[in-house]
Amino acid sequence: MIKYYTFKIKRYLPNETPKTRWDEFRVKLNNMERVLDGLIKIKETMDGTLTFRKSCAHGVCGSCAMKINGKNRLACQTLVKDLPEIIEIEPLPSLPVIKDLVVDMTLFFQKNDKVLPYLINEEPPPQRERIQSPQDQHKILESITCIMCGSCTTSCPVFWSDKEYLGPSALLKAYRFLFDTRDKATEQRLKAITGQDGIWRCHSIFNCVEVCPKEIDITKHILKLKRLAIKKGFKGGQE
């Protein structure tokens, strides 16, 4: 089934004008095609200046996260047949826009760096790899599937108003290493996330869970972090 869709795209072209504007494009798409296909068609046949990020186009790289009809999602994972005929596309909210749908993700990745996103284990390494049992892996399986597209952090109302907040994505990363049985830096990691801008700023709003393209229950992980922090706090591990 082939249908016409109207793409309303928020444009920002800093070389032409500092103002943003809305452009409309009518695109013919079949019901197997995705928003990303529409964007590619527009760029190739209608307006070559339209700028957006894309890479794998199969929901693995997380480059094409954008706000589609008022909700953050991956353009490559959103079928046009599930949307109304008018499709409104904006860049991810609350991050500085570079051009059209491309945002500056520096702040997002800085938050990620703050939670020490690497394995810390001072023990001498064994002959081969550090072994992890399937049960232990199961504990962190959900959090490992994160592709860091930025949908969750930019959907969080706390992050919109408080740019110091670590955000759901970084906290999920903290969970991934805190609950990894091979990692030994529990104290250090808890210290990084229990400050004023860490887990206590999460108010269980569930916006991040609504948008996650990998369907990770991020709030569940942050709630587990809170319980861990309280438990360790009572044992005197944390201030």
């Binding site: 706390v158 108003s161 408080d162 907040y165 229990t194 004023q196 801008d197 206590w200 700023r201 922090a229 309280i230 706090g233 944390q238 201030e239």
Partner: protein, 104 residues
């Protein structure tokens, strides 16, 4: 961290306190909040303790919430610090007034 936990605990205290407060003062008729009835209750030490716990819980709970709002919405560090000091002192003053009326 412990202030966060205390926020939850005072929340639960307030839940039961408010239940009692509403039933007594608003649902069970006029006699409970006449001047004489209130003063008679205030003489009882268990009521004094209830009132003080209720008062301090409400103040802590309310102002911890406002503290979070300031962290999230106020831009600029000097303004933030000023407001944080202000909402630290204000509940202390209110607690003083509240405890004064309960005890004396």
């Amino acid at each position: 961290m412990f202030s966060w936990l205390l926020h939850r605990i005072t929340g639960v205290i307030l839940l039961f306190g408010l239940m009692y407060h509403f039933i007594l003062m608003h649902f069970l008729g006029h006699d409970n909040y006449s001047y004489e009835a209130v003063m008679q209750r205030l003489v009882d030490p268990s009521w004094k303790i209830f009132n003080i716990v209720f008062l301090l819980s409400a103040l802590f709970h309310g102002f911890y919430g406002i503290n979070g709002l300031i962290t999230e919405y106020v831009k600029g560090n000097s303004m933030k610090n000023f407001l944080k000091i202000f909402i630290f002192i204000l509940p202390l003053i209110l607690a003083f007034f509240g405890i004064k009326i309960v005890i004396f």
